[in-house]
Symmetry: C2
Subunit: 633 residues, 2 copies
């Protein structure tokens, strides 16, 4: 069984909630990203020749490719000649930036191409090409013109001439995974065996050691005349805990030997997303076992309740198991936007491998929380990091741009391709993973349409209508939070969290997912004797703007149940359900010293505390106090 | 008023507790350190010439100097011809290692002296000389032979020819402070004005910026052909948060402009100890204000209850205010041994500037907890880091040696010079800072002796007998934990935590400090709603070896009072008072998932939990579970 992800073009999102997010992304985010790149000049880096006075950053190319890819997704469901012209211009620029041998990278073009491929650990040449390949998949799916496929295949043939297992080639692999994803996506589009071959090579070569215990990164460092063992040397990155800390790149050992997810979170989930596709395409059981082990390790020991990944700021990545600090202060809780983005990508690939609602549950959590809150409701301000706690007096508004600008285009990429996450199909089975109002045109269905009507995440009711000439079997994901008490108007069979209904045709299925707020607690291994509030897939937080009579840094929840408040608009989002909780206030919060013999004293009287969805945080100003987890009293 | 620290030679420690620690240090630690240096070859690095096949580490020289200094302290109170011969041999080696112009450093001697003084930010040349100067102070105080003073003054004149405010000299300052301490100590011994001049220069030049906002470190990096602004470049240290993060070296701004203690903790407290001496010697009020500001910031926002400093592993230093994680895991709680050592040195200098018991209280806490636990009772195993929590199943025994071996010799230095921390004097006033059984020969007292009898930290009683021809006034520090209910047999006047008794002669003063265990709580700004137990200056911890019926990672204390248990021997330490507390056990500690809707459930039944002094941790084996702070239930 291998499910096929639905084509973006075949899904029309009708959800008011998600349409609003998509419109904002299409109309504001993408133009804002392109404008920022043009204003800073980054957009033109591909046109620069050797010796250009501005020296491109190693990843500027990727920003161009990523926004191109994102734009293509939006263009698949809605014409926009201006945006299309912009994208065609980018394609022209890419075509003319390529060197005759297929190489393309502004960093080395400007600085001198003779140094290319000498530091693939740090210099992102393969990473950038990877994003170019993904842009190509999107662009060719949109236009089928071949205008990007041609230079991309030329670039890939160049890469394959430099890297590979064959004697005389460099036995290297990218310092930041991404090209593996691109290669496999393009392979699925064109079936060119070189793409699968090269992806397999990069996935399996990573982390191999020679008889001296050295990796390719040691070899290339020495070839540059550097000493990778020197703790004071040039090879000691500030993201390493110790010299040769290749766990940062997931290159400390081969994937099949790894049993703990480590290092830079975005690299890790990009790698695992690609490996998951590779398992599906190759049937490799050893890699499948490794992917499953690392999934289990991440989900059971290293994932924030929001679907955020990466508790360590120093290496923007995973910390030790169960160490999940909530604040950015003190170098904890990085939870990079791109990592939650990458996690949704990994989940959708796991779902193609195995229909198990755990993958969709986590995709949904990452989507609504770790990911969605990264973009402001203005569509043009972004979080790079998504901590679960910020303190009163230290407001952290979103930024309009970053020097390292990986996150904003990923926001647009995911919102543009959101439709593809909702449905997948295999033979006549259509799986519904996300409960987002939309219309799905069934492939080879002769016009058969699945229409999903719901006001999720604010409503408990879903109507799924199958209409048209083809009968389809449905696999409906029952979210973990509704598993105990959902109802469905049609009887079906539950298997791994999906309710299977056979041969549905011209029929409406009604689902009811009781939407009661619930308290969630953390594994004691985390040391966190605290409580969080969720409603459906939404993680809630307390913000000072809704709780002006208290200092939200110093409140605790009692054991009383939490309750839904009447729906209201929060900033530009309608129908939001706030949650009310009963709390107490710390009465002696102000101390003159660091330690004292007087214990914390909580108020006798309780207070009503208001919680709102985490993704809506810091959209209405406020003093900065925001907490997902609350103390218990 | 400027108190003079007592001479090591004038204090005979009679305390069974501290004599045991000193004997262990003299008989085991110092020989072990010298043996380790000889076994590894480091000891001989000063004899190596250019091109020697082994390349010294930048700080190996300092280990030789530090153990030499420590040995001298022990030799001041007890003859040991073998040890003295060893030290004289080291002095011979130092004398012959010096270059004709006064330069001395094995790192550059072996690698090529032409590169000396090109990277004082990282390369520790001035740091090593600083330790040499301190060794000189100890050695000359012991021998008065001039054999080390001569090469040391030659080295200092060389340094002064290279660095200084004068045109044509490098306007640099050490990347790791230490020479400032040495210069001022030697100045107090010899009164050579060059020493004060150079110390002032290094203390005040640090952190100055030119009209482009650049510091000396930027200048020297550029002179090396490097780009300090490049986040991927050679100047981006792994201990930096961002390029040019000179807060690591306390060089982000001049001392007089600093209002938050930042960066590498050892560097910071060495710097501030020297600045405090400089204030006393110069009367500089602006620096005094800065020292006081940074003291207050550290004590009120960044110090562990143990006197440990440095919540951030990445830069081995201070984190943001109130961020004080207890576990090493997740890059928190570095609490380096050398930082608590440096803190005691800073405290003793603050006490010379101003007689205020806060400085002695903190010195005592750092001494008994953050510092003393760093050495095993075997005298030859050490902690570099001193976290407040370790987990069951992850035992962290002390190590016998470190590649970067700064901590073990500092342990010997402090234990060797412990006598000098106990008393200080000014005119006919003798201040008693620490309650450690000992005999102090009053300077110019014609044989007047102050005899302190006590079994502290295990007893409440102290007898202080002044005998001999001279009447002295006493300033007796009343510890903060005894302030409310101490008694003294002689009436006196309390001023800033010291009880002043006038003109005491041939008289015994009896002090009683009720020693009841107490619960201590942390400022809510830390987020730590937990409780710690203290008895006098001792911080306690729970260890699994005393609490085998429970998992100490999953217990909480009730509000019931804590109680002293009967004294017992713990490992080799006699009369230790354990503390008993009433706790509950987490009944559902084992979870299959990271998050769940089931809250933590504490046992109905209470259990008796045993706590022991933190400094005794991990001396009896065990499974590794150890916690200073306990949850409350």
């Amino acid at each position: 069984m291998a499910f096929k992800t639905s084509n973006v073009r075949d899904v029309r999102i009708t959800s008011q909630f998600w349409s609003q997010m998509q419109t904002c992304s299409r109309e504001i985010t993408i133009p804002a990203i392109i404008k920022a790149q043009k204003d800073t000049g980054h957009w033109y880096c591909l046109t620069w020749k050797e010796g250009h006075p501005v020296k491109p950053h190693p990843f500027w190319d990727s920003d161009i490719y990523k926004v191109t890819e994102a734009a293509c997704y939006f263009l698949m469901t809605r014409d926009d000649p201006t945006l299309l012209a912009e994208i065609e211009g980018a394609v022209d620029m890419i075509r003319s930036a390529q060197h005759p041998d297929g190489y393309i990278n502004s960093y080395y073009t400007v600085r001198g191409i003779q140094n290319r491929w000498t530091n693939i650990r740090d210099m992102h040449e393969l990473y950038c090409i990877g994003h170019l390949v993904e842009a190509c998949v999107a662009y060719e799916s949109l236009t089928d013109s071949g205008r990007l496929l041609e230079p991309v295949m030329k670039a890939i043939r160049h890469v394959a001439s430099v890297f590979g297992p064959e004697e005389g080639k460099k036995h290297g692999y990218p310092g930041h995974q991404e090209i593996e994803i691109g290669l496999l996506r393009l392979y699925e589009l064109t079936k060119d065996p070189l793409l699968l071959y090269l992806a397999k090579y990069f996935i399996t070569e990573r982390g191999k050691r020679d008889e001296h215990g050295e990796t390719y990164y040691d070899h290339e460092a020495k070839a540059r005349g550097a000493d990778p063992y020197d703790p004071m040397g040039t090879e000691m990155r500030h993201t390493y805990e110790f010299p040769r800390d290749y766990a940062y790149h997931q290159a400390h050992k081969p994937l099949v030997e790894q049993d703990e997810i480590k290092g830079h979170s975005v690299r890790a989930v990009y790698y695992l997303a690609a490996a998951t596709d590779y398992v599906r395409l190759s049937g490799d059981q050893t890699i499948r076992d490794a992917v499953n082990r690392l999934w289990r390790d991440m989900v059971n020991t290293k994932m924030y309740i929001t679907g955020g990944l990466g508790a360590m700021r120093q290496w923007e990545g995973f910390g030790p198991r169960y160490i999940l600090g909530d604040a950015e202060e003190g170098n904890g809780c990085y939870a990079e936007t791109c990592a939650s983005f990458g996690l949704t990508n990994w989940c959708t690939r796991m779902l193609r491998l195995q229909l198990n609602s755990e993958y969709a549950d986590i995709m949904e959590v990452a989507l609504y929380n770790g990911f969605l809150g990264a973009v402001g409701l203005d569509g043009k301000s972004f979080y790079y990091e998504n901590p679960l706690t910020t303190y009163s007096g230290y407001a952290k508004p979103r930024s309009t741009w970053f020097e390292v600008a990986c996150c904003p285009p990923n926001v647009a990429k995911l919102l543009g391709s959101l439709g593809s996450l909702i449905y997948s199909s295999f033979d006549n089975v259509v799986a519904v993973h996300l409960w987002i109002a939309s219309e799905f045109t069934v492939a080879q269905g002769n016009g058969t349409i699945i229409s999903q009507k719901t006001n999720m995440p604010w409503s408990e009711e879903i109507e799924l209508t199958v209409s048209g000439p083809k009968a389809v079997s449905l696999a409906l994901r029952i979210p973990n939070w509704a598993l105990a008490n959902f109802t469905c108007s049609v009887e079906g069979e539950m298997r791994q969290g999906y309710l299977h209904l056979s041969e549905v045709q011209n029929c409406t299925v009604k689902l009811h997912f009781p939407l009661e707020p619930r308290k969630v607690y953390a594994n004691p291994m985390t040391g966190k004797n605290e409580v969080a509030i969720m409603l459906g897939p939404l993680v809630y937080c307390i913000e000072d703007i809704d709780n002006e009579s208290v200092n939200v840094d110093y409140v605790a929840l009692t054991d009383a149940p939490v309750r839904k408040g009447p729906p209201k608009n929060i900033a530009t989002v309608e129908d939001v359900i706030p949650i009310h909780a009963t709390g107490r206030v710390l009465q002696n919060a102000k101390w003159s010293s660091l330690y004292s013999s007087t214990p914390w004293q909580w108020s006798e009287q309780t207070v009503d505390l208001v919680f709102v969805p985490y993704f809506l945080r810091m959209n209405r100003g406020g003093n900065g106090g925001m907490h997902v987890w609350s103390k218990r009293v």
